[in-house]
């Protein structure tokens, strides 16, 4: 059991997450497109490649690195049987994200976030609830273009976060930010596909390793 948990941590890319996407995939899904120069957030400047005709272009090399780290982390969390909660507040993609979460066997919250969900969980749900071990933000902003409350709450409850940050978002409190476009349907479908594939892979690997251990 100990070996099951420590073995993946010794490899840098145990779940071979790098094979899931290429730069061309990201480009085709229009991940590099950001918002206009006026919407730019101060802390997103390191991730921006440049600006063309007032529209910001996100640096896809950095995105690749961040995406690889984030997917690796999600895979490890899924391997150890952690609860992953997909959060977004975009009505367009609400259905897509919920279906993705259901397909993975994980959880989603794309609706109105009630204040005490994470911080007051024992009162809201009942004693003995297990909080999510990872929050994945596919849209960091809520409907009023402000940072989602869950980022702050997760930081308060020491829950790691993975989030797709666009050029108008604040990447500060997110543990594994992924600079990228969060507005076009193609980009969102790509992210959902990637997360679904990593989680499914990680869970399969876990089941295989457990089967092998039992056979011994």
């Amino acid at each position: 059991d100990d070996k099951l948990l420590t073995e993946p941590l010794s490899h840098p890319d145990f779940f071979s997450v790098k094979e899931l996407f290429t730069l061309k995939d990201l480009f085709d899904a229009r991940v590099h497109l950001g918002h206009k120069k006026g919407c730019r957030h101060r802390f997103m400047e390191p991730y921006i490649f440049g600006c063309r005709l007032d529209q910001d272009i996100i640096d896809l090399d950095q995105t690749m690195q961040h995406l690889q780290l984030a997917l690796n982390f999600t895979a490890h969390v899924a391997y150890r049987g952690g609860i992953i909660l997909f959060v977004s507040r975009r009505r367009q993609f609400c259905h897509l994200i919920e279906s993705t979460a259901r397909a993975c066997g994980e959880y989603a919250h794309t609706r109105y976030w009630q204040g005490g969900l994470l911080t007051n969980a024992h009162v809201q749900f009942g004693p003995g609830v297990r909080l999510p071990d990872l929050l994945v933000f596919l849209n960091t902003l809520n409907n009023v273009f402000e940072p989602h409350v869950a980022i702050r709450d997760a930081a308060k409850m020491s829950i790691p976060t993975v989030g797709v940050v666009d050029t108008n978002c604040n990447p500060c409190l997110i543990t594994y930010p992924i600079p990228g476009n969060d507005d076009s349907p193609a980009a969102m479908e790509l992210y959902c596909k990637l997360f679904r594939m990593t989680i499914v892979r990680a869970k399969d690997k876990r089941r295989q390793s457990e089967a092998i251990e039992e056979l011994r």
Partner: protein, 349 residues
């Protein structure tokens, strides 16, 4: 002086009263065992067979052994199955390892949001189907759903269905989504799903049946009508091929209603239809005063005239107010006042 910070002692008003007890499964099981044992003892005491001792027998036995004169039936001693006594608790929503069962558990309102998710999925399905039909060039089926005969579930019914509390906003959003789904041309694909949330409304349109004309011995057509106003009740029989003679309680109209206003009221239905000299009327009336009796006979005669007249004219009569019962009655006197509305004279000192 507003108390800004309160101590815990003040917040817990009654130290002895705790919240609703959480009934564990073991507790409920023990209660069920005790109930079954008690049932057998009771059957033994009453001299009946313990195997075939039903709930009704238990109730009768308890009523016999513990007679109580209390008025409130729920305060009397009772012996019921623990499942009926202890309210149903929301079962634990997560498994042994702590992972919740439902994928929308962390939203707080899992059944409501999963319902919205499903409905939206059906919506997308219908749209896809529609797109396929358009691509193939086939016509879209447009069978008009009978909206008049059905209604959507009410908020309370939906709450019962989902076993969860809803807010008004949530409910209205769900209904709007259902309406959007039902309004699509190809919505009959998901007809089964929509029918789960709609209920038949018993057709309340009491189509007022206009009775056909009856014929008496001479072959003269006549029809009857009943009317009321305040405390007066009247029945009128209107005969065709008449001269405009009106008889009330056996006496002539001039004898019964000396005042012109009352006679005008009686003639109004005929004047409205332009049939003043064409009908005869015989009516009986009792109760009320002079005006009330006149109003009652007016209503009765208007109802009787419906059989002689086209539907359009009936609609005109209805709009003129000839066929509506006047609901005004004498308002009661209230204590502390001199009359129904008049207050006692206000004296400054």
């Amino acid at each position: 002086v507003r108390l800004i910070c309160t101590t815990t002692a003040v917040q817990r008003k009654n130290a002895g009263a705790s919240g609703p007890e959480k009934y564990t499964e073991a507790f409920i099981k023990k209660q069920i065992e005790e109930f079954n044992l008690g049932k057998r003892h009771l059957a033994n005491m009453m001299g009946e067979d313990p195997e075939t001792f039903t709930q009704e027998d238990i109730d009768r036995a308890i009523a016999y052994l513990f007679p109580s004169g209390l008025f409130d039936k729920q305060a009397r001693p009772m012996m019921k199955h623990p499942n009926e006594v202890f309210p149903e608790q929301r079962k634990i929503q997560w498994g042994e390892d702590g992972r919740p069962f439902h994928f929308l558990f962390y939203t707080g309102k899992q059944s409501y949001y999963s319902l919205m998710h499903e409905t939206y999925e059906k919506f997308l399905n219908v749209q896809k189907h529609q797109d396929q039909l358009i691509a193939q060039g086939l016509p879209l089926q447009k069978e008009k759903r009978n909206l008049a005969g059905s209604r959507w579930l009410t908020k309370i019914e939906l709450e019962e269905m989902l076993l969860e509390k809803l807010s008004d906003d949530d409910y209205s959003r769900f209904i709007q989504l259902l309406q959007k789904l039902a309004a699509l041309p190809c919505a009959d694909v998901e007809e089964n799903y929509i029918q789960k949330f709609s209920k038949e409304v018993p057709v309340q349109l009491q189509k007022v049946v206009i009775e056909p004309l009856q014929y008496d011995e001479q072959g003269v057509a006549f029809s009857t009508g009943e009317g009321k106003r305040k405390t007066a009740r009247a029945t009128a029989v209107v005969y065709d091929n008449g001269t405009g003679k009106i008889t009330v309680n056996g006496t002539d109209i001039l004898h019964h209603f000396p005042v012109l206003q009352d006679r005008e009221q009686l003639l109004f239905p005929f004047q409205f239809l332009g049939r003043i000299g064409k009908h005869d009327m015989v009516c009986t009336v009792s109760g009320g005063g002079r005006s009330a009796q006149a109003g009652a006979i007016r209503l009765a005669s208007a109802k009787a005239l419906r059989s002689f007249v086209t539907e359009k004219e009936v609609e005109f009569m209805r709009q003129a107010g000839l066929l509506t019962v006047d609901p005004r009655v004498k308002e009661r006197k209230k204590p502390g006042q001199e009359g129904p509305r008049r207050k006692f004279t206000w004296k400054k000192r």
